[in-house]
Symmetry: C2
Subunit: 646 residues, 2 copies
C-alpha cells in the first residue's frame, strides 16, 4: 500500500484519547471475541488472495466491472469449497469482502434461486434441480418484478396456462407492462429463472405461483425460441449487476416445472392447495433482519470515513492566528456526524436482536404456533424501512460533510451510497412497509381498547404511562424510553381515532385508511423508534460489567434519543407532556453530548473494525494518510498522465 | 421520437382537470410572455440542430462523454456567434439546452476565466489577454482550491515570490497539500489558468492574489517545465468535466502576469493596494442568485418527472376488486411530492427576487454606497445554502418516490441529482454560508437591541410582534408570515443570549461562537425561511389579478408554510406561541392542502415548461408514454441484444 506506515499524528492523538478499549467494543459489535477472530480470519483469506487485488473499480468501464465481478464471484465459489467455509456467517463475510459495496453477477443464484429451489419444491423437484443449481450447472435468477408491477405482487401479469393435453404450462407476457424487468443477472448471465406468473387452469385463475423456466440455450447461451431478453440499461449504481428484461411468447414448460411444495396442478389440470403459507413470513423476517444489519453496517462505514477524515482535515481559523482546527472540533460537524454514529450503533443492535428474536420463536413456528409472528413480522417491516432510510440519508450527510473531496470517488462514499439506497425500495417499498406496521398497530390498538393483553414488544400500548415527561438532567435511559413510549401511544391512538372519525362520517375503510395514511406512517415510525431505543438500552444492559464501554454506549444512546426528540419536538410537547423548559434543556443536553462523545469519536468508528479494503476510501484510511495517497489514487487509471517534472 | 404521439390517457385526464391556465403560469415563472417566447425560440434552435442529437450519455464511457461534450461546446461557441445570441439570458438558455445536467468541458472559460480577465485586470492586461481568451486562442481555468484548502481561502499555500532582478514571479507548490485540486477543465483541456497564490515580495507575504500562469505548451499541449498536471480521477458525477490537479515547481512568469486592477507589485518589488475590494461582494451576490435559481430549477425538474410518473403509474388496490389507483392518489405520495413542488416554486421566486434586489441597489453600489449590501450579501449566503440543500434532498426524495424505476437512468433523476448536489459544497460550503448569515444576524440583533433601525428585509427584528399565533382556519398568508417572523426573532434572540451567556462565563468570542454554532445555523435557517415565505407571498401579490393562478399559488405557498411549521413544530410551540390545538389543526390543514393541490399537480409541473430533451427522462415524458419507451431506451447502447422473437 502506498504512503508511509506511520499514522497521521492527528488521528493517532484521537486514538490515544479514547476512554474505552476499542477491541472490547469490537467484540460487543461482533457478538463475542470468537466471532471477531473468525471474521478477521475470513477477511485475511480474501486480503491475501491476489485475484481480489485490482485498481479501484470506479476507474473501470461497466463491461470491465462486470467481467471482474464475475471472475471474483466464480473464484469465490471455488475458494469457499477449497477452504471448507460452510458456515453461513463465514460465507457472508467472505463474499462481502471480495466485493465491497458491489453485487456479484451471480448473486441471485445464492440469494434467491437456490433458496427457493430448496424450500418451495417437492422432494422430487429438489432432486432434479437443486444439485444442478448448487454446482452452477444451471445459473438462475428470480423473475418476479415486471415493468408495470413491483410492490403489488398480485397485479403481476405474466401468465402460466395449463394445457392438460400436452401436460405443459404455456408461459406468456400478454402485455407490454408484463415484461419482467429488474431481475438481477438476467440481462446477460443466467439461463434459468424461477418465474412468478398468474396460474390458469381449467379456465380459472388461481393467483401467483412459481415456475422454473429456461430462457437461454445451454450450449450457445442464445435466447431460446419465444424469449426476448436483455439488459435494462445503466443505473445509478449496481454496475456489476446485469438487471434484465424478459418477455415470453408461448414458451412451453413441463407441468412439473411448477414448484409444487405448497400447491399443485395435477396431470388432468386440477388445482390443489397443500400447505400453510404463513411459513414464508419467517423467511421475510430473516431477510429483513439481514437488511437492517446491512443498512447499519453501510451507515457505520460512511461514519467511519467521515469521522476519520474530519479528524485529519484542518480548515479555517477559529481563533485568528492559531493553527486551523480539526474540522471535527466544529460543533456543526459533530452535530452532523455524531447522531448518525449513534444511529448506526442503534440499528446494528436492532438488526441483531430481530434475528435473535426470530430464532427464539422459531421452534414455536415449526410447531404451528404463530402467535408471536404477526408482531415480529410487523416490526420487521418497519425496521427494514427505518434502517434503510436512515442509512440512505445518513450516508449522503456523511459525504457532504467531507466537503469537495466527498464528491470524488476517492472518498468511497458515492459507491456506498448507490449500493445502500436501493434498500429503500427492494424487498418491500419503505412506505408500504411502514403502512404494514401501521396496520398491525391499528389492530393492536383495537385489541388494547378491548382490554386484551398484547404480546411481545407492543405490550406498552396496554400501559397507561405518566402524562408528564420525567426526563431530567441525568437523561436516564428509563425516562427516555418512557417518553418515546408515551409519544408512540399517543400518535397510534390519534391515528386510530382519525380512522374512526372518517368512517363515522361514512367513508369506506380504504378511503379512511388513505386519508389517514400520513398519520399512520408517522405513528408507525414512532413505534419503531421506540423499539430501536428500548433495544439499544437493553443491549447496553448486557455490557454493564464493562463500565467504560457501557458509559460511552450510554452516551450514544442518549444522543440517539435526544436527537430524535428534537427532530420531533412537536410530538413530545403536544398535550403538555414535555414542558418548554424541558425542550430547551434537550438542546443543551444535545450539545453537551456532542462534546462528551468528541474524544471517543474515532475510537467508536475504529471499533467497527472495517478494513481499508472494505471501505475503498482514501479519506477513510486507517492510517489517516489521506493527502499522501490522493494523487496516487488519481493516477489509478493507468492512463499516461500528461505530467512531467522539471 | 419513438412511441405514439397520443398522450397517455391518465396524464391527459390530469391536464383536463387543471383549474388554471398552464401557459399563464409559465409566463409567471419566466417573468412575462416575451421571455417565454424567447426561451422557447432558443430551445428550438438547439432541438433542431443535429449536432445535439445523440443517444443518452449514460450509455457512454467517460471518454466518450468528454469528447461529445467538447464537440457540443465548441459547436455552441460557433452557433452563438452565427445566430448572434449576445443576450446573457439567451446564451445561458442555449448552453443549458445543449448539455442538460452536464457541464461543458470549457465551462470555466466563460464562467470564471473570461470574467476575471475582464474585471481584475488593468486596461493593458485586458488588451493582452481578453481577446485571446474570448476567441478561445487560450483556454483557461480558475485555480483556487487546493488539496488541503477549499473553504478557507486565506489558508491557500501556493506561493508567488517576486524577484526584482528578473522582474518575475516564481510560482511554487511548496507542500503536498498546496497541490491545486478540483479546478474544472484543468485535467486535460486548458493551457492557462488564473492561479490564486500567496504573494511574497521583499520577504513579506501580502496574502492571496491572482496570477495568469500558462501550464501547457500551445503547440504540443504537453505540460511545460516545472508543471505536473492531470485529472483527479472519477467522481460521483461531472463526467464531462476534467477536474484537475496541478503542481508548480519554480515556474517563472513575468511581473505583469499578476492581475493588477486592485493591487500591484512595482518593478522594484513594492506592494501597492489600489482599490476597494468590497465591489466583489456584488459578484458573489449575482453568482449566488444564479445558484438559487438553478437549484429551484433542478428541484422543479425532479418534481416534474416524479409527479408525471406518479400520475401514470398505477399500483396496488385501495378498494379490493377496483382498478389499481394512480400512485398520485396515495396521500403518502402527495405528502412526499407536493411540499417539494411548493418548495421549488418558493425558491424559483426567491432567486429571481434576489437578482432583482441586487440590480435595484447596483446604482448605489457603483456610487460607493454599500449600506444595503451587507444584508443582501448575508441573505444571499443563506439562500444559496437553503436552496441547494432543498434541491439535493428533494431530488432524492423524488427519485425514491418513483420506486424501482427511479434507480434506472431511464428516470433521469440520478443525473439531475449528481449534477445538483455539488451546489451544497461549491461557491461556499453550505454550513459556512449559514454561519455567515448568522454572523450578520448577530450584528443586526445587537443593533436592534440598541434601538437602531435595520435595513431591508431584516427590519422585522425591530418589531415586537404578537406573542400568540394568529393562524386560523383560513391560513391567511399574513398570519403565516407573522408566525415565521416570530419564530425567527425568537431563535435569533436566543442564539444571541446564548453567545452572551458563554462570554459572561469567560469564554473567548470564538469559543462561544463555536459552542453556539448549531443554534446559530438554526436561527439563520429560520431567517432565510422567513424571507422565502414572505417573498413567495409578495410574488403572489403581483398576480392577484389572475384569480385562478393566484389561488393555486396561494395553496402552494400555504403548503410550503404549513409543512415548514410541522417540520419545526417545537419552534412554533415554544413559549406557548402556538397552541396544541393550532398544531393539530396544522396537520389537518396540511392534509387538506395535499388534496386541494392534487387536481393541479400535473399542470403545476407542466407550467415549468421543461422539454423532454431537457429532462432526459423516460418516466417524465410529456406524453406520459413511459412503458412504451422503456424498452427502446434500454436498447440505446446499440449493443446487439441477445434477443429474438419466435
Amino acid at each position: 500500500m502506498p504512503g508511509t506506515a506511520k499514522v497521521n499524528p492527528d488521528l493517532q492523538k484521537e486514538r490515544n484519547r479514547a476512554t474505552f478499549p476499542v477491541h472490547v467494543m469490537t467484540y460487543v459489535l461482533d457478538g463475542d471475541p470468537e466471532k471477531t477472530k473468525r471474521r478477521r480470519y475470513v477477511e485475511n483469506l480474501v486480503l491475501n488472495d491476489p485475484v481480489y487485488k485490482h485498481k479501484p473499480v470506479c476507474f473501470m468501464s461497466r463491461g470491465e466491472r462486470y467481467s471482474l465481478g464475475m471472475k471474483k464471484a466464480l473464484h469465490a465459489v471455488k475458494k469457499l469449497k477449497e477452504l471448507n467455509l460452510t458456515d453461513p456467517a463465514d460465507q457472508y463475510y467472505y463474499r462481502s469482502f471480495t466485493m465491497p459495496h458491489e453485487n456479484s453477477p451471480i448473486a441471485l443464484q445464492d440469494d434467491m434461486f437456490i433458496p427457493i429451489l430448496s424450500t418451495q419444491t417437492t422432494d422430487e423437484q429438489k432432486a432434479k434441480w437443486l444439485t444442478l443449481a448448487k454446482s452452477l450447472q444451471i445459473i438462475g435468477t428470480y423473475a418476479q418484478t415486471e415493468m408495470g408491477h413491483g410492490t403489488f405482487v398480485r397485479g403481476l401479469e405474466t401468465t402460466a396456462t395449463y394445457d392438460p393435453q400436452t401436460e405443459e404450462f404455456i408461459i406468456n407476457s400478454p402485455t407490454l407492462t408484463s415484461t419482467k424487468w429488474w431481475p438481477g443477472n438476467l440481462g446477460k448471465t443466467t439461463n434459468h429463472a424461477v418465474v412468478l406468473a398468474q396460474l390458469y387452469t381449467g379456465g380459472k385463475c388461481h393467483g401467483i405461483h412459481a415456475f422454473i423456466v429456461q430462457h437461454r440455450d445451454m450450449e450457445t447461451h442464445q435466447p431460446l425460441p419465444g424469449i426476448e431478453v436483455g439488459d435494462i440499461g445503466p443505473k445509478f449504481g449496481y454496475e456489476t449487476v446485469d438487471n434484465g428484461f424478459l418477455r415470453y411468447h408461448n414458451v412451453h414448460i413441463p407441468r412439473d416445472n411448477m414448484l409444487m411444495k405448497y400447491s399443485e396442478v395435477t396431470k388432468d389440470g386440477r388445482y390443489i392447495r397443500k400447505a400453510n403459507e404463513k411459513l414464508t413470513y419467517g423467511t421475510m423476517v430473516t431477510v429483513r433482519s439481514g437488511i437492517v444489519s446491512n443498512a447499519a453496517r453501510q451507515l457505520a462505514e460512511a461514519c467511519t470515513i467521515a469521522i476519520r477524515y474530519s479528524a485529519i482535515r484542518r480548515q479555517s481559523e477559529m481563533k485568528p492566528g492559531e493553527p486551523e482546527p480539526q474540522v471535527l472540533d466544529y460543533q456543526t460537524q459533530q452535530h452532523k456526524l455524531f447522531p448518525l454514529l449513534a444511529t448506526s450503533y442503534a440499528y446494528w443492535f436492532a438488526g441483531r436482536s430481530m434475528r435473535e428474536t426470530y430464532l427464539d420463536i422459531q421452534s414455536q413456528i415449526m410447531a404451528g404456533d404463530f402467535k408471536q409472528l404477526p408482531e415480529l413480522h410487523a416490526l420487521s417491516a418497519g425496521l427494514k424501512a427505518m434502517s434503510t432510510w436512515a442509512a440512505s440519508e445518513g450516508i449522503e450527510t456523511c459525504r457532504l460533510s467531507c466537503g469537495g473531496h466527498g464528491y470524488s470517488h476517492a472518498s468511497g462514499l458515492p459507491k456506498i451510497y448507490v449500493d445502500a439506497t436501493p434498500g429503500c425500495t427492494y424487498e418491500g417499498e419503505n412506505t408500504v412497509m411502514m403502512l404494514q406496521t401501521a396496520r398491525y398497530l391499528m389492530k393492536a390498538c383495537g385489541q388494547a381498547a378491548q382490554g386484551n393483553e398484547l404480546p411481545g414488544f407492543v405490550a406498552y400500548l396496554n400501559q397507561k404511562g405518566l402524562d408528564r415527561c420525567m426526563i431530567g438532567d441525568d437523561l436516564s435511559l428509563v425516562s427516555l424510553v418512557s417518553a418515546y413510549q408515551h409519544r408512540a401511544r399517543r400518535l397510534i391512538g390519534k391515528a386510530a381515532l382519525q380512522m374512526k372519525a372518517h368512517m363515522e362520517r361514512g367513508k369506506p375503510q380504504e378511503v379512511a385508511w388513505n386519508l389517514t395514511s400520513v398519520q399512520l406512517v408517522h405513528c408507525a415510525k414512532a413505534h419503531v423508534q421506540c423499539y430501536v431505543l428500548k433495544n439499544f438500552v437493553d443491549s447496553i444492559e448486557q455490557y454493564s460489567h464493562h463500565e467504560d464501554v457501557a458509559r460511552v454506549l450510554t452516551q450514544l444512546c442518549q444522543l440517539f434519543a435526544v436527537d430524535g426528540i428534537l427532530n420531533n419536538a412537536g410530538d413530545f410537547l403536544q398535550g403538555g407532556f414535555m414542558s418548554y423548559d424541558q425542550l430547551d434543556n434537550m438542546t443543551a443536553k444535545l450539545l453537551d453530548l456532542l462534546a462528551a462523545i468528541r474524544p471517543n469519536a474515532v475510537a467508536l468508528v475504529d471499533a467497527f473494525d472495517f478494513s481499508d479494503h472494505l471501505l475503498q476510501s482514501v479519506l477513510g484510511r486507517y492510517d489517516g494518510n489521506v493527502y499522501e495517497n490522493m494523487l496516487e489514487w488519481a493516477k489509478s487509471s493507468g492512463v499516461q498522465h500528461l505530467s512531467k517534472q522539471s
